[in-house]
């Protein structure tokens, strides 16, 4: 039996992982997503609803409507922020789920893959918005 107290066993090793950083960034991105997602969902809902009959008759009018909307500087800015923050927040969440449920050899490759994929999709989404807007 060790005579060391439990506290002395852990003291001096620092944080086991990344301290409160993951927790804090998760809250921060979550807070940012509150206005961004509400804006996005209600904007799209309003546009889907407007002139639905027109969309049925004129081919590509949906495309013109949405691309004109996405090209507005304010909308493009919000879309870029939405894409970047969504994939960042999603990566943080999926990471914790993998850490909780996946054990063994697959764990680390999955954690790496999720992080790289999140960045790739975020860059792709941002590029799409830039192409529409510029």
């Amino acid at each position: 039996m060790s005579l060391r107290t439990p506290l002395s066993e852990v003291r001096g090793h620092g944080s086991a992982k990344d301290g409160t950083h993951h927790w804090w960034v998760q809250r921060l991105s979550g807070v940012a997503l509150i206005p961004l997602t509400i804006w996005f969902v209600f904007s799209v809902a309003c546009m889907v609803g407007s002139d639905a009959s027109l969309a049925a008759t004129v081919v590509g009018s949906e495309y013109v409507k949405f691309s004109t909307w996405a090209a507005e500087p304010f909308n493009a800015t919000c879309l870029i922020l939405l894409v970047a923050t969504s994939f960042h927040h999603a990566q943080l969440g999926v990471q914790v789920v993998i850490e909780d449920y996946i054990h063994g050899a697959l764990r680390t490759p999955l954690l790496v893959a999720i992080k790289l994929l999140a960045v790739a999709f975020a860059v792709g989404g941002i590029l799409a918005v830039l192409k529409i807007a510029l």
């Binding site: 209600f42 889907v48 609803g49 949405f66 894409v83 969504s86 999603a90 969440g93 789920v97 799409a128």
Partner: protein, 127 residues
């Protein structure tokens, strides 16, 4: 606190079902669903950047029965995760941590998420 006395995480097989537990699981499940939703957002934006033909294809999929079910699921997932996320922020501030408050705020989160989902879909269909 010694290692033996630390609270154990719930084992689903032996734990009695409680509201707070169900709401917690739901938060994680909706979060995972929304990760899929983010992928659809990527597809939607990429299609919009690619041209009318590609965008129409994605819009047609979104308008199909499967597409509408998915979008409805994502809309509700978003609002549940959003409202429940605010509930988490309140907990982070040290408030509503007792069982009664956690249960009531959970019920409110679920109710609000349903109301907001109906509001968005009503807007989409009626405007």
């Amino acid at each position: 606190m010694s290692a033996q006395n630390r609270p154990l995480s719930p084992h689903l097989q032996v734990y009695r079902w409680q509201w707070s537990m169900a709401y917690s699981i739901l938060n994680r499940a909706t979060g995972m669903a929304l990760a899929g939703g983010a992928l659809f957002l990527f597809c939607w934006l990429t299609a919009l950047a690619s041209g009318a033909e590609e965008f129409t294809a994605v819009q047609n999929f979104a308008g199909s029965i499967i597409g509408r079910i998915l979008l409805l699921g994502w809309t509700w997932s978003l609002f549940y995760h959003l409202v429940n996320g605010i509930r988490h922020l309140v907990w982070d501030s040290g408030r509503w941590l007792d069982l009664k408050s956690a249960e009531i705020s959970g019920h409110i989160s679920l109710a609000l998420s349903i109301v907001l989902t109906i509001a968005v879909w009503a807007l989409a269909y009626m405007v």
